[in-house]
């Protein structure tokens, strides 16, 4: 079931949208803000709410890389793996994070705190290597700086 809060936020989007379909991406993001990810059940509820078929909705949901159709942790760490960050030390950043968290790319820590993923170029190439966590961007990463950032979120 969509919560009242979720419905209210989706209605707000619908109020200035020319079609119901046009709010799909925003609606998926709303669900994700409340529940971290979009489960099959959430998807079914949303399809009903937007009067769309489940498949049509899922085809959109699975296209966008920042809509999570599998469960993720409390903080999703997205490391930039594009060219400028790669030149400037992506490998070091990745290795350090893997060791520190004890997980591989695509995995979540046992306590459900962190999920580790990659993301294309974050547009902060002058501060490469970079990552983004909870929509905060961190550049000029070194192992020490990573420790600081992660320890604060723990």
């Amino acid at each position: 079931m969509l919560s009242e809060e979720e419905k209210k936020e989706i209605d707000q989007e619908l109020s200035h949208s020319p079609t119901r379909q046009a709010v799909v991406i925003e609606a998926l993001k709303i669900i994700q803000r409340h529940r971290r990810w979009v489960s099959d059940d959430s998807l079914k509820d949303l399809a009903e709410y937007l009067e769309m078929s489940l498949d049509a909705l899922d085809s959109v949901a699975t296209f966008y890389s920042l809509i999570f159709r599998r469960e993720v942790g409390e903080h999703v760490i997205l490391i930039c793996d594009s060219v400028s960050c790669w030149i400037m030390g992506y490998d070091t950043v990745l290795d350090h994070l893997k060791k520190k968290l004890g997980i591989d790319l695509g995995e979540t820590t046992a306590d459900g705190k962190f999920t580790l993923l990659t993301i294309p170029c974050l547009g902060v190439c002058e501060r490469a290597p970079a990552m983004i966590i909870d929509r905060e961007t961190y550049g000029d990463l070194t192992p020490e700086r990573i420790d600081e950032i992660i320890d604060k979120l723990k």
Binding site: V23, Y64, L66, I87, C121, C125, I132
Partner: protein
């Protein structure tokens, strides 16, 4: 030197609010356009200025607008969209403009919307740009409050609403017809052209998609005129350009310089040259989807025509530097992995060809390549080139590859002969 795009940007102070922006001469172009100029006149001024699109292709902005139906017969609803998706690897110029001076983009969007008589304007913003989103939302609210957005703007009878759409991430959202599909809540696959967005775009209405930096050029052109704008440049393409440099240079960053500043000046004077212990080997002049340039090209002016003449594209004007301690083959593995991952899968050459290309490059990098692979790669550059795929993603993907095969051939061959990467020991 005049810097119409960045004159208000001061990272220490932060961006100007609407009052500060107006005190610095902001919204003068907007007022002049709505009070003294017809939409046609605005279009003419932009055409005369020879403003070329800063999203990568360099298409004439005035020319693009001229395809939008105008007058009483034209559809009442039209759209203007600012393309702020900026996912081209190595590109960070639009972010600097939005974070530095959000009102400049909004003023440029209002004038451009007026020029094509759009009823609504969207900013299509990538998710990672949270600070841009916050600043733009605040700036839009201020513009509404001042009566610069909404109904009957400045008593001109012109109405305009403005919205922000925050994307959920995919490189294809930046392709203009993919972007329109994304805004409609669909998968960001491209659309067949014709019909072109100028006549049938968002929800089938006439629409203009324009890069953020392009739009930021418009207020200056309207206030100071086309001649002033052309004189800002060192070459035939008008205006200034935000150039950027990333990689192992002393001072990575972005700078507003006259259009046509040479690659060497940007690299050596502004980015401070290579870091100690690193030598220059090559560069991608304007993002991941442009052809490599090497030492012999450094004195080329960075403008659309000149870079084209030496076999590449200016693209977004943000250069990525390859140094002598970085393996060019491994760099290609990284680039083609990006393109293969971001392919939308709509057409076969790209959907199947790019992963194949990536795998061949990986094999070579891992010392498992064969000489025939180089021919295969060249063949793929051809099969994925312009005119063979549905959109420009795949042709963009082969640009760094075809040029790497040309300029760094020896390095590829050495990987194959030695059965290992010379950079990995």
């Amino acid at each position: 030197m005049e810097k119409p795009l960045t004159k208000n940007i001061d990272p220490e102070r932060g961006p100007l609010d609407i009052r500060g922006y107006e005190r610095a001469g902001g919204y003068a172009g907007f007022k002049k356009a709505l009070r003294e100029m017809s939409p046609q006149k605005v279009q003419e001024e932009v055409t005369d200025a020879n403003l070329r699109g800063r999203g990568g292709a360099g298409f004439g902005t005035g020319m693009k607008w001229s395809f939008v139906p105008m007058g009483d017969e034209a559809p009442r609803t039209k759209y203007l969209i600012a393309n702020a998706d900026e996912m081209e690897p190595g590109t960070f110029k639009d972010r600097i403009l939005m974070e530095g001076d959000p009102h400049l983009l909004i003023e440029g969007m209002i004038i451009s919307s007026y020029a094509i008589q759009a009823r609504a304007a969207y900013i299509f913003l990538r998710w990672a740009y949270k600070r841009s989103e916050e600043l733009l939302r605040k700036a839009i609210a201020e513009a509404y409050e001042a009566g610069y957005l909404g109904k009957n703007i400045l008593g001109s009878g012109y109405d305009l609403e403005m919205y922000i759409h925050v994307s959920a991430g995919r490189y294809m959202c930046g392709e203009e017809t993919g972007l329109l599909n994304a805004l409609e809540g669909k998968r960001a696959t491209p659309r067949a052209k014709p019909p072109f967005p100028q006549t049938s775009g968002l929800w089938g209405k006439p629409s203009i998609v324009q890069n953020v930096e392009t739009l930021c050029n418009v207020p200056g052109i309207i206030v100071n005129g086309a001649d002033w704008y052309k004189k800002l440049s060192k070459t035939g393409d008008g205006g200034t350009k935000i150039y950027g440099v990333s990689g192992r240079v002393k001072r990575p960053g972005a700078w507003e310089l006259p259009m046509g500043t040479t690659v060497r000046e940007i690299l050596e004077e502004h980015a401070g040259g290579m870091r100690d212990g690193y030598k220059f080997k090559g560069l991608l002049p304007g993002g991941a989807s442009t052809d490599f340039l090497v030492e012999e090209h450094l004195d080329t002016p960075m403008d659309f025509g000149s870079i084209m003449k030496v076999g590449s594209r200016m693209g977004t004007g943000t250069m990525i530097i390859l140094d002598d301690k970085t393996c060019p083959v491994a760099m290609l593995v990284n680039l083609e992995k990006f393109f293969a991952q971001e392919s939308c899968g709509w057409c076969t050459p790209c959907r199947d060809g790019l992963p194949w290309t990536h795998k061949m490059l990986m094999a070579i990098e891992n010392g498992e390549g064969r000489m025939e692979d180089l021919e295969q790669l060249e063949l793929h550059c051809n099969f994925l080139g312009p005119g063979r795929t549905f959109c420009a993603l795949a042709p963009g993907a082969v640009e760094p590859l075809q040029s790497a095969l040309k300029y760094f051939r020896d390095d590829f061959e050495k990987h194959i002969k030695d059965k290992q990467c010379p950079w990995r020991k």
